[in-house]
């Protein structure tokens, strides 16, 4: 079975908040709640880096461990879901969660929490009908064979979602290529041709400063 994971490549995230918007739209998330957030470290400094965070569907999920009603469960794909019929809004999952994923609607007096809402990896949740599922948890794209919309729509492919093994392989490949003289452009057909022509000198081939006149 697949083990579904998110992975945000901090080197690529450009803090466009497209994932936040995509998620909110795909899941019709309640007003005041955004299941995904983009955190920027050292904003405005040369070392600035951004990362998109939501529920990371932990293997050993702290929310599951502390929930007084035991409303969480893990699907066969390793996705952590919860039953809103059992949730009592105690907030313990929020205390325990490393990523600040659980959020609570706050329409009640004295800040009394409503039923917890969090990222479902676009896998919906327990419900009698499709309509009810959408109403409570949002889209179930996984059932349709699609990956979470946030990752699907990420413009720089910083946010990856899918089987842990596949995601890890992609990221490993990126790490190996990153900072390499070859840049992030390997696999590009035009460049591969240039590269062959330029021989071993990759910088010669790596002409972002593309010179049309030199082309034969």
């Amino acid at each position: 079975m697949a083990q579904m994971k998110f992975m945000c490549d901090a080197e690529r995230c450009i803090e466009c908040n497209g994932c936040v918007t995509a998620c909110k739209n795909a899941n019709d998330v309640e007003w005041g709640i955004q299941r995904r957030r983009v955190v920027t470290l050292d904003d405005g400094e040369p070392s600035e880096v951004s990362i998109s965070v939501a529920c990371m569907h932990c293997d050993d999920a702290p929310c599951m461990a502390v929930c007084p009603t035991d409303c969480f469960y893990k699907t066969d794909d390793g996705i952590v879901l919860h039953d809103k019929d059992l949730c009592i809004g105690c907030g313990y999952c929020l205390y325990a969660c490393p990523f600040g994923a659980p959020q609570f609607p706050k329409q009640n007096a004295f800040g009394e929490r409503g039923k917890m809402d969090k990222c479902t990896f676009c896998a919906g949740g327990p419900a009698e009908s499709k309509e009810e599922e959408y109403e409570k948890y949002g889209a179930n794209r996984i059932a349709e064979g699609k990956l979470p919309l946030c990752a699907e729509m990420c413009s720089t492919k910083a946010l990856l979602a899918g089987d842990a093994q596949t995601v890890a392989d992609i990221f490993r490949q990126r790490v190996v290529k990153r900072g390499h003289a070859d840049g992030g452009w390997s696999g590009n057909q035009r460049r591969e041709r240039e590269r062959t022509r330029a021989g071993a000198d990759l910088n010669q081939a790596d002409s972002l400063a593309y010179d049309a006149t030199r082309r034969g």
């Binding site: 470290l41 502390v66 009603t69």
Partner: protein
């Protein structure tokens, strides 16, 4: 050619091509290579192990941004794991040991040693011990305490028992009912506890008699009774436990009950640990209080139900108070209501000093 294939932006593409051509003419290839390397070095070096160490520590710098509008969160809630471990590995098991152990000890005590009976027959003459107002507040606080203890225990341990026992439908209403009762009755309990503590404070100032009382173990076992005034050492200890730990439990409960005052996640984690440790401890001690007040010793419960105690009971359990108040003893058949003689006077008479 390939640049022009893009259609509408032909002009822009040509301009770009010209620009690139100029750049290529003026910049020597060697220099371009240095530039590229420098750029690569600057671009790639952003995320250092130090960055992640800082994230892991939960520390938030001045240039930390979160796209959630009112978020006060850091990137990684490191204290969450500590809270989880404290709660699940320490508070839960040891709370169960404390409460369950106390219940077990009391049961054994009752089975082996049994009830503390009055050693002499009742005289039939009664002394007013608790006026109606104290009794009412006491039983309200007591009922609330029991409800809060049961719902609290359900919140901590219920999922291990009732979910599999009753199924999801029953469990859902059971646990949401527990949370509602706990959260709504908690503040009421807090207010009434303060009222009760204030009302009986005058009986509970510690003095030398209590030291001797504790040295003799309160006369729990055997025939003897150490000296005691209106309240004995044990009662005073229970009073001061409620006046300290009890109020801390109430305060920490309020911190979690009203999350709308901007208190942080970390504050609520600590409030939860303090609340559960205190509440479990008080529940364990309350079992002792309930035992002694009901089946544990003959003649005690009627003081809190009817308000009156028998002379014999007063003599044995609170001899110093008895000496002060024995003039006000009333024969049983003359008791008509709460204030047959002088209302609160027996309390006044017993005031220390």
């Amino acid at each position: 050619m390939s640049l022009c294939r893009n259609g509408p932006n032909v002009g822009a593409s040509v301009a770009l091509a010209l620009l690139l051509l100029l750049t290529a003419l003026f910049a020597s290839p060697a220099l371009a290579q240095v530039e590229t390397e420098r750029e690569a070095a600057a671009a790639v070096g952003a995320v250092t192990p130090d960055t992640w160490r800082q994230v892991r520590s939960g520390e938030v710098g001045p240039n930390f941004r979160d796209s959630r509008a009112d978020s006060t969160y850091n990137l990684i809630n490191a204290s969450g794991e500590s809270w989880r471990q404290l709660r699940n590995r320490w508070v839960s098991p040891f709370g169960l040991i404390a409460v369950g152990g106390m219940a077990g000890v009391i049961l054994l005590f009752y089975l082996i040693i049994g009830r503390k009976d009055l050693s002499e027959p009742r005289t039939g003459r009664k002394l007013l011990r608790w006026p109606l107002v104290v009794r009412s507040i006491h039983w309200t606080v007591a009922s609330l305490f029991i409800v809060l203890a049961l719902t609290g225990l359900n919140l901590l341990y219920g999922k291990f028992v009732f979910r599999s026992l009753f199924g999801d439908a029953v469990w859902a209403s059971m646990i949401s009912g527990s949370k509602l009762l706990h959260n709504y009755l908690g503040p009421l309990f807090g207010i009434l506890l303060v009222v009760l503590l204030a009302r009986v404070l005058k009986h509970n100032w510690l003095d030398r008699t209590d030291l001797a009382w504790f040295k003799q173990g309160g006369g729990l076992v055997g025939k003897g009774h150490p000296d005691a005034g209106f309240a004995n050492g044990g009662e005073k200890l229970w009073f001061w436990l409620l006046a300290t730990a009890g109020l801390v439990v109430v305060a920490s409960g309020l911190v979690m009950d009203f999350p709308n005052y901007g208190q942080s996640r970390d504050t609520m984690q600590w409030a939860n640990i303090i609340h559960s440790v205190g509440a479990l401890g008080l529940t364990a001690v309350a079992l002792g209080h309930i035992y002694i007040g009901t089946i544990g010793s003959e003649g005690s419960l009627e003081g809190m139900t009817t308000g009156y105690v028998d002379e014999t009971w007063a003599k044995e359990h609170h001899n110093l108070w008895y000496e002060e108040a024995k003039d006000q003893a009333v024969p049983e058949d003359q008791l008509t209501g709460d204030k047959p003689v002088s209302g609160d006077s027996s309390e006044t008479a017993s005031r220390p000093g």
